[in-house]
Amino acid sequence: MANANETSNHTNVDTGHPTKATYFAVAMLLVVLTAIEVGIFYIESLGHGIIPILAILSGAKFALVVMFYMHLRYDAKLLTWLFLAGFFLAITVVFALLGLFHFFI
């Protein structure tokens, strides 16, 4: 009985997580996104347009690591909420402080 449970747990782990190929693909995406970031950085004609582009690219990298490497995509939703509570609160506090210190004006 205990053994059966153990093996079923194991198969869960294997199917619940992505394959090596997925991990590798994510890694390649991360490298490519970083390369694009650094590349864009040297294009001077973009002006202030660089800020949203870089923000989106690094946001994508963040999401890739959290979803695949930290396997939130395959885990219980509760864990996602626990993390996002802190994450979004931190983002809000950062932006509120920047606003209060007239960072944007």
Binding site: T34, E37, S58, F62, Y69, F87, L98
Partner: protein, 241 residues
């Protein structure tokens, strides 16, 4: 099964309300909490951005290509960490050890880059050519009044950046220093796991969750760096931000 376990002494820890393990919940709640920690440090950095009274400033000291390389190393360490975990869950202990050790090595390499970088900043020098004043940064231009013929056409001025130099130095070193501290703890944790895995029964596929927790921490340190790289380094050099 449940009955049998209860009778054998109530292993309630295996039958949690949500079905999730205690440790995993703890780890994710802690990571949410740590977001607030780094959020406060990043907010401090940004609030004080462009408020330093003197140089050197980001555009004087940052070397984007060097930092891109160390960022690459840290991203790759995340990949090798997840491959280590994947190998462990498949029962491939040797693969696990190899990937885990390479994660540690890449983490240590990242720290080496950071030490190198800090050292460069502390020993930063302004290289001056009085015939090329137009290429200078704002900070470097403050030395330009020396180009009145009393000094050589080309001279080198020591202008190091330490945590005491200006607000940029203070906020930059403390923010990246605490990130480096997190990486150091991570390397120690992973190394401890590596050596523990050499012991018989130390780390087994059945104990994969212990490794998963360390991996979560390691990836978190990585995503914090993803944000620091963009917000502090890339935006830091970008004029007008």
């Amino acid at each position: 099964m449940a009955q049998a376990e209860l009778a054998h002494g109530g292993h309630e820890e295996h039958q949690t309300t949500t079905g999730l393990s205690h440790k995993k919940l703890l780890m994710w709640a802690f990571l949410g909490s740590d977001c607030m920690f780094f959020g406060s440090l990043i907010a401090t950095y940004l609030v004080y951005k462009n408020r330093s009274l003197g140089g050197p400033l980001p555009e004087d000291v940052f070397d984007i290509l060097t930092t891109s390389t160390s960022t690459f190393v840290l991203l790759m360490s995340s990949m090798s960490m997840v491959l280590a975990y994947s190998a462990l869950t498949r029962g491939n202990m040797n693969g696990f050890r190899i990937w885990l050790l390479s994660t540690c090595i890449m983490g240590a390499t990242f720290l080496g880059f950071q030490v190198f970088e800090f050292n460069e900043f502390v020993n930063h020098e302004v290289h001056f050519e009085c015939s090329h004043l137009e290429d200078l940064t704002k900070f470097e231009r403050t030395f330009a009044d020396r180009c009145d013929g009393t000094v050589d056409e080309v001279f080198i001025e020591h202008a190091g950046l330490t945590p005491r130099t200006n607000l940029f130095g203070t906020t930059f070193f403390v923010l990246t220093g605490f990130h480096g501290g997190h990486v150091t703890l991570g390397v120690i944790w992973l190394l401890a796991m590596f050596f523990y895995s050499l012991r018989k029964g130390g780390i087994t596929p059945a104990k994969h969750e212990e490794v998963d927790l360390a991996a979560l921490y390691w990836h978190f340190v990585d995503i914090v760096w993803i944000i620091i790289f963009t917000v502090i380094y890339l935006f830091g050099v970008f004029p007008g931000f």
